[in-house]
Amino acid sequence: MNYSKFTTQDFLMDPSFVQWAREGKNDAFWKTFIANNPFKSEEIEQAKLFVNAVKSFPLFELDAESQESLWERVEQKIEEETPVVTMPLLGRTWWVAACVLMIASWLGWQTFKKDNSNSVTYENLITATDTKKSDLVEFVNNTDKVLPVNLPDGSSVSLKKRSRLAYFKNRFGTTKREVYMSGEAFFEITKNPAKPFFVYANELITKVLGTSFIIKAYPNDKQVNVSVKTGKVSVFTQFEAKRSLKLNSNELDGVVLTPNQQITLDRQELRLSRTLIHLPEVLSAADTEIQSFEFDDVPVAEIFAKIEKAYGVEIVYDEELLSACKMTASLDNVPLYEKIEMICKGLGATYEMIDAKIVIESNGCS
């Protein structure tokens, strides 16, 4: 290397120089060089100054307390998941279905199991409010058809059979929009971040700013389920410690669900688990250019990135291990799980669903 012709920039682009400037490696060599080439000392000084300037940049530190509590959260989460449930390899569709079945997540886990008498019903919710019954507006669908309901804020609700929806007309839309429901309904909520929309369904509270989603909460079911079509919703239970805080903030806190995700509340155990819905769809907001899933000798990481973006899901894998893997595949018009399965087959890999993420288990490809 002919260092005697180097500019400041050249020195900074030279790995050996940077190592010396940063860590003092090869000190003897550089000291000799400077002694022999005094006319280069200015460039070297400048380059060293540059390295020092970057090295002494302000450091954003994680205080010890946060560092510890963050670690506790990691530990808590991994302990909840051990031992990981392994599914027997049965028929293909069964396997996919099994994968969809939730693997318990720590989210919202309540330490104390509430006994059954604590279960919350539609009737409890309505009588518990201190509002006059004359202000109650209620829709009951006893037919076999879907009952469309328009709310004063322009939102609409499609109420399925054997379902009910109610709100208080004097309160709805003052500072927030609150409705109570039982059964199953599809909600399309108009956007209004200043007045969050709350749905009380059995023990579960769903909070949104403007989005569409489905709630299933029948009085005698063991579970309550919320799945998201567009936008984001947050959910928490009636027993949540920070409930009143969440009811009064204009932000989405608690467990936040994004499209293609669902949350299921086990009413007896009061355990919330987040999974992907059974048949995730391509998000309408995703670019049209990513809607094609034809791949010709494309790195697997790129294919995963495209799928992540299209379905709004997270795929967890080791980039290093899969960096050499390329694939030719035509995955158009195939549901998400089948896409993943086909890719896994090509890689000789398997996958698992954990906390609404797709975790790829592979040993790489040679």
């Binding site: 900074l12 682009m13 020092n52 300037a53 994680l62």
Partner: protein
């Protein structure tokens, strides 16, 4: 390669191996060793302490879930940086805080505080020069600054910088060279400050 580097690499390799077979102690050591610098890197990308902590939590839980399916590595730091960047980009994609494909994105307004190390590094004139340089650096587009940080602050090799930032090595080289060229003005300025103090 000298001995200290070899032993450092084999130490990392062994630590990673132990973690891969499910040794929680090794996992906790990896966390303790890297949580701080990961936070620093993450915070510069996304100045939101809660989101960055969430990303780090997510990174480590995923790491544990995936442990049996991870490659061998001699640089855990490099591995973690790369994964954290992906997480943070995902988190901030929704928030639209920055766009990874935009070359000249806006300065996010990082508060400027001089670290202890800066104070330790030589005295007087150099301090002023370093401050002037740092001010100039902070005006760089965020991607250029990120590349500079990864190379000179975190000490990653050029190919690693490229990989972390998901670009090829030549692009990373260009990015750094372009930033250095931009800083030329400030270099001239520094020389003037220097000469001024020296002669008058």
């Amino acid at each position: 390669m000298d001995d200290s580097k070899v032993s450092q690499e084999s130490e990392e390799f062994l630590l990673w191996q132990r973690f891969k077979i499910g040794d929680k102690e090794a996992f906790s050591r990896i966390y303790t060793k890297y949580a701080g610098i990961l936070y620093n890197y993450g915070y510069h990308m996304l100045p939101d302490t809660y989101l960055v902590q969430d990303a780090i939590q997510d990174l480590f839980t995923d790491l544990w879930r995936m442990r049996q399916n991870l490659a061998h590595t001699t640089s855990i730091k490099y591995y973690l940086f790369r994964s954290l960047r992906r997480k943070i980009h995902r988190l901030s994609a929704g928030e639209r805080l920055f766009d990874s494909f935009q070359e000249d994105d806006q300065d996010v307004g990082i508060p400027f505080v001089l670290s202890d190390e800066a104070l330790r590094i030589e005295r007087e004139t150099t301090d002023e020069q370093i401050l002037a340089l740092q001010k100039a650096l902070l005006k760089l587009p965020s991607r250029q600054l990120e590349a500079i940080r990864l190379r000179f602050f975190d000490g990653f090799e050029l190919d690693q910088v490229a990989d972390i930032m998901q670009m090829n090595e030549q692009s990373a080289r260009n990015l750094i060279q372009r930033s250095l060229r931009k800083l030329r003005l400030s270099f001239d300025l520094l020389v003037m400050i220097y000469l001024f103090r020296y002669f008058f």
